[in-house]
Structures are given as C-alpha cells and as structure tokens.
C-alpha cells in the first residue's frame, strides 16, 4: 500500500471499521479520491465497488476535492423557517457557485447540510466547522470578506 495511506493502520482492519477508514481518508485529504478507494480496498480486503457502494450511501463523503474553505449552509428546520433559502441564494450569488460546487480557484466550496445543532441562532452556516449564527446579508458579506484573502 502507498506510504501515503499508512495512517490507515491506526483504524483497525475489521471490516466494520470501513466507515471509520473512509472518515480517516477524508479527514486527511478533504475528500475520497479514486486512489484512496484503492488503498482502502486493499487495506480492508473489500472490493473497490463495495467500498464505493458504502461511501455513496453517506452524505458525508465527498468524491471531489473541496475548496480551502468549506462553507456549509444549514437547512435544518429552524434555519429553513428563518430564511436559509435566502442565505443559500445570497452565498451562491456572492461566490458564483451553487451548493455542491467549488469555485475555480479552489478557495471556497459550498454545501447544504441539515442542522448544525445551533438552531437557536438560526439561520446558521459554518466555515470549516466554525459556526456563524443570526446571519443576514450584511454579516454574510463580512464573513466572506474575512476569508477571501486568507
């Protein structure tokens, strides 16, 4: 196996750890590449198609490389009620990408998720895991600016 994936040794070869293995790969590379599927398949002794079958079931796993800053728009119930549709539209306009896409320079990517657990601050989004609440257009523009040149 590629030395690059030596960290898989820490996961444990039990097939029941497959999801954990995929999470480890995505944690390290930001997504699950064809190359890493091959490594996982080899490590667990599970055919690559089966690995793909499992990973395609779970929304968490990405098959394309995300941007440096991953923006997640919350569209859980509370955020939806509080206008997450508009938040999504504003972000899309500002960044020129739709949910599920990454911009051309690989700086921002946008995705929609269900509930970040901070519903009382709705509408909410997160940038690389840092949560921002009570969003309006002004605060969104400000937050994007902050990350723009980082």
């Amino acid at each position: 196996m590629d030395q690059k994936y030596a960290f898989l040794e820490k996961v444990g070869k039990e097939p029941s750890n497959l999801i954990k293995g995929l999470q480890a790969v995505q944690g390290a590379e930001g997504y699950v590449s064809d190359e890493s599927i091959a490594a996982i398949s080899e490590y667990f002794g599970i055919p690559a198609v089966e690995v793909e079958g499992v990973l395609s079931f779970y929304a968490q796993f990405k098959r394309v490389k995300p941007g440096k800053y991953k923006i997640a728009i919350c569209d859980g119930t509370a955020c939806h009620i509080k206008g997450s549709t508009q938040v999504g539209e504003w972000l899309s306009r500002e960044l020129g990408i739709q949910s599920g896409e990454t911009d051309a320079r690989g700086h921002f990517s946008l995705e929609t998720v269900a509930c970040l657990g901070c519903c009382s601050l709705a509408p909410v989004m997160s940038v690389n895991g840092r949560v921002y609440g009570k969003l309006d257009r002004k605060s969104i523009v400000k937050i994007l600016k902050e990350y723009e040149n980082k």
Binding site: L18, Y58, E89, S120, G133
Partner: protein
C-alpha cells in the same frame, strides 16, 4: 455588592455558546482576570442570552451576565460586578421549568471527572451495583421511563429483553445520531454532562449483562465526541467500566450523515461498516443485532435519565409527569420566538406554557408548532392547551418525537413547510421500499407544483390518498412517518393549500412564485442602496423593480433603511 470577592468565573462554551462568540470571551476573561480561575462549562439552555458568563462569589451567590462580547468594556463590567447586562432567568420560565436531567449542565466543567463525582455523579451506578441486575431492571420498569428517542417504548421492558438473553456477548448501543434537523437536546447533554450519559450506559450494562458498549454519534457534533472521549478515558482510569469482573469496552463511532441511520436496524448496519439500510423486524435487535449478537439501543436522553432514577429511586421519578408519561422531557425550542433555547419541563406541561411562558413567543404572531421534525406534524395554536405527553400528541396526528420543537409564525406558509419536510425525507429515503422511495418523491413533486402556483385540486386528493399508502407500504419509521407533515398541514391548513391552487395566492407571501417585489415610494428616501445591492440588476435607477428579472432574494428588502420594500401578491400592483 462590589466588595464581595469573586471566587470563580464560568463561561458557557458548548457549541451554541461558541457559535455566539463565547470562546473569545473566555480567552479575554482569562487574560484579564489575573488570579481568579476562569473555566469553561456546558450550556444553561438560554441560547438567546449567549454568550453567558457566571460569576461565583465567595458568599456562595452567583451573578450572571448575558450577551457578553469579547471587548474590554464588557469584561470590565463583569470583573467589577457591574449592573449592566445582568441576566436572570425570566420568572415565567423559572416557574414552569423543572430541571432534573440538566441539573449539572452549565454548572460543571464537562472535561473534569471530579466535577461530576462531587455533584452526585456515579452514585446511581454505585447504588445499582449494590442491587441485583434484576432489581435494577425492575427499578427502571417501576419508574415508568419511556424511550426519549421518539418511539416511547418502556425502557425497563426493553432492558428485560436483553437481560433475558444468555449469550457470551451482548451489545449496548447509545443512539446519538440526533437526526431531526432542528433538535439539539442530545448534543447539549453530551457536551455539557457527558458522564451522565455514560453512567446511564454503565448501569444498563450491569442490569442487562451487556459486554460491549457503542455510542453512535453524528459527525456534525465534534465537541460532543471530544467530551465523550475524555470522559471515557476517565472512566477507564477509574476502572468504572469493570462490571461483574469484566472490563467493558466503550467505543464511539461517528455517523456519516444519513438520517435513516437513526433507525435501529440501519444504525446497526452502519456500525458494521455497511450501507445504513433498515431491515425487516423481527428479528428484533435484542434477539439478533450487531454481528448477530443480542443488541439493545437507547437514546442519549433515555440514558441521561437513568442515573437519576437509581440515585433518587423509581418512586421519586414516577411522581413527576402524567399517567402514561413519567419524568421530565427536554425540548429544543427554536423558530419564531423571543427566547429560543433548551428547556426541561415535567411531562404533561402544555404547549401554551412551553411556547408562550417559557419561549416568550408573541401569542398574536404564532400559527403553529412542529414537533417530531420530519416524522411529526404541526399543531395549530388553537390546540395549545394540549399537554405534552406521548399519548396526547399522538391523538393530534403529531408525535412527541425526540424533542425538537419549532415555533412557526403567522408569516410562514404551511404548504412550503410541508414541502420542506418532504424535500428532506424523499432525499433521505434509503430506497429499499418502493412506496417510500417513489411515494415521497411524488409527494414532494406535487408540493413543488403547488407552491409554484401550478397545482390542481386533484393534487390535494392525491396527497391525501397516497399518504396512508406510504405509511402502510414502508418498512421503517422513516417511510411510515414521512407523510405526517403533509397530512397534518392538510388537516389543519387546507385553506392555505386551496388558496395556492385556486387563487394562486400564498397568504404568507412566502412562496416566491406567487409574489412580486414592490417598492412603496411614499416612504422611500431614494438612497438607492437597493439598486446597488440587487445582485441581478433588477432595480432601475428610478426605483422600479423588474419582476421578470428579480429572483425574490429579499436582499433589497433586507438592506432598505426605511423598510419600504415589500413582498406583495403577484400581479397585485402593476
């Protein structure tokens, strides 16, 4: 007051607090407070007041500060025990709440073992270990505790199923998937008092003879996972996991973003590293679960109640609540209300008390409340005298659910709300059952048509017809409950559906296909901020909106300093 000496300062740094900026407040306080200890704690449930700071005084009193910012002015005020920004629990909330499960939330440092044990922690386990396993199961049965994960199954009875198995391995699973998008009770409990959930699991392990313990936690909860991991290593260190002479392993597995994995059999498949697809029951997990071993699943909050029952006794627990629903329940209150937060009330408290007295919602502005998330239904304000317990809510076509409670204001469209839930469920369907997979998709498409003003009256009949069929034809709870939000809104708000179909009108002016944007010139000061803001250039220099171009994004409405841009009924102003 200012002569009192400060003993200690606590900052609420659960995820909700951090999202409001509490980590920066903690840091600044630490650097400014010199010799006074400043520690992080969990959440007190007053989300609207976050970030919150508690100042503990030498005389045993406490002073709370609300909406603190990481600025010197705020910190000076706190360190000098100033009167500004003080926080008191609103009297109406204090009167209605009964804090049992959350007693230590926001009161201890969740990462410190001693903080838990010095406050009654692990006394429940100690008492359990002095009884026989059968006695413990009976104690839980007597308490009347029912599962908090949504189903409301009697917990003691479930335990007795696993206890009755005579196999070398038995599996205990904590369901921490918290899939209802708009609920955060379990997150808050795990972040704030992780040991309480684990103590409940250890008591269950003793009572049932379980040998391996899993926690299946959603990956979106990194802080909960971190705190649980710390707590588990402390348990190992103090050998609390040695039960009946056997060292029990406690394993955390992270979910991977699939709502259906909250369902027991899907969760088990996911724990085995497979696609999270539910399977037919029987066999029930307590007969054949993880890798074929007898396995039992309880929810986070269910486990969180267990130490209480063992510590205070079943009778004390059963004294709280109603005939069929005992103890307290946590609710995550959010949506259109003044004081969103995490609340704990005795079972049987009315919706009116929760939404208006505790949540501070304006009675003139509330239309309904949604309980049980995508599996639940809405309850109109006219029925707010309903006591919240498993059986009363079921009668109304809603469910208790796990505790998500979303207040829906009068300016929200119920058809759109139903569309939202079906959008969620049809995407989350695992696809195994045709009725669930195809049926929810058809329902969703029909609702999309209606909110776009392209529905027909026959569509409403279709929805009413297919709903019960999806219920019948689905294997798991996802499909069986998916039609609920549609059927409930059709039952209580049929006129809104009809207005969309017959008059192409959205009463709430929410459905964008049925509204125009309009600038009311009488108030306009011609600042032209809207013109500059519009991302598609739909507003002309003389302040007329081209509704053909406009995407109804509300950016202009939002930015207008005179609030004179409105959503109006489509075609109503030429």
């Amino acid at each position: 007051m200012s002569q009192e000496k400060i003993k200690k300062i606590r900052v609420g740094v659960a995820s909700c607090g951090v999202a409001a900026g509490a980590d920066a407040v903690l840091e600044l306080l630490r650097s400014r407070a010199e010799s006074i200890p400043v520690e992080g704690t969990g959440c007190l449930g007053h989300c609207y007041a976050e970030p919150m700071v508690e100042v503990l005084l030498d005389n045993g009193d406490s002073v709370f500060y609300r909406n603190v910012k990481a600025e010197d002015g705020y910190i000076d005020n706190i360190l000098s025990l100033g009167e500004k920004d003080r926080f008191e629990v609103p009297p109406a909330r204090k009167a209605k709440e009964l804090i049992k499960v959350l007693a230590l939330a926001g009161r201890i440092d969740p990462t410190r073992f001693e903080d838990y044990t010095e406050n009654g922690g692990y006394e429940g386990l100690k008492r359990a270990l002095s009884m026989t396993p059968v006695e413990v199961v009976n104690e839980v049965k007597l308490s009347g505790l029912r599962g908090r994960g949504g189903g409301g199954f009697p917990t003691g009875t479930k335990w007795s199923f696993l206890a009755a198995k005579d196999t070398p391995e038995k599996i205990l699973i904590c369901n921490a998937d918290e899939g209802d998008p708009g609920a955060f009770m379990d997150r808050s409990l795990m972040e704030s008092v992780p040991h309480q959930v684990l103590e409940g699991m250890l008591i269950a392990a003793y009572a049932t003879g379980a040998t391996k313990l899993f926690i299946y936690c959603r990956a979106e909860y990194p802080m909960a996972i971190r705190h649980l991991k710390i707590a588990i290593s402390q348990i190992y260190e103090h050998k609390l996991n040695v039960i009946n002479g056997r060292e029990l392993e406690i394993i955390i597995k992270e979910g991977a973003g699939a709502f259906v994995c909250g369902e027991e059999t899907a969760l088990i498949a996911s724990l085995e590293g497979q696609r999270g697809t539910p399977r037919f029951r029987p066999p029930f997990p307590t007969d054949s679960g993880w890798k074929g071993y007898p396995s039992m699943i309880n929810n986070v909050e269910t486990f969180g109640n267990v130490p209480l029952i063992l510590r205070e006794g079943a009778a004390a627990f059963a004294a709280i609540g109603t005939e069929g629903s005992k103890g307290t329940k946590l609710f995550a209150l959010a949506g259109d209300l003044k004081n969103p937060g995490l609340v704990e009330v005795p079972m049987g408290t009315t919706l009116r008390e929760i939404v208006f007295d505790i949540g501070g919602a304006d009675p003139d502005k509330v239309k309904a409340v949604q309980t049980g998330g995508p599996s639940g239904g809405c309850i109109p304000v006219e029925l707010f005298d309903t006591p919240v317990d498993y059986d009363s809510l079921k009668k109304l076509g809603a469910i208790m659910g796990s505790g998500g409670m979303i207040v829906i204001g009068k300016d929200r469209c119920m058809v759109e709300t139903a569309r939202y839930f079906l959008d969620f469920t049809h995407r989350e369907s695992c696809g195994k059952c045709t009725f669930c997979r195809v049926g929810t998709t058809r329902m969703f498409e029909t609702l999309e048509r209606i909110v776009a003003g392209k529905g027909e009256m026959a569509d409403l009949e279709f929805l009413e017809d297919i709903g019960p069929k999806i219920r019948m034809g689905s294997l798991c709870g996802l499909g069986q409950t998916a039609p609920n939000p549609v059927l409930a809104t059709l039952r209580y708000y049929r006129h809104e559906y009809e207005a969309h179909v017959k008059d192409h009108q959205c009463e709430a002016l929410q459905c964008s296909a049925l509204v125009d944007m309009h600038i009311d010139k009488s108030n306009c000061i011609k600042c032209k901020l809207c013109v500059k803001t519009c991302p598609v250039g739909a507003i002309s220099d003389d302040l007329v909106i081209d509704n053909e171009k406009c995407t109804r994004c509300n950016a202009c409405k939002d930015v207008c300093p005179k609030k004179t841009i409105h959503r109006v009924k489509k075609g109503s102003i030429q």
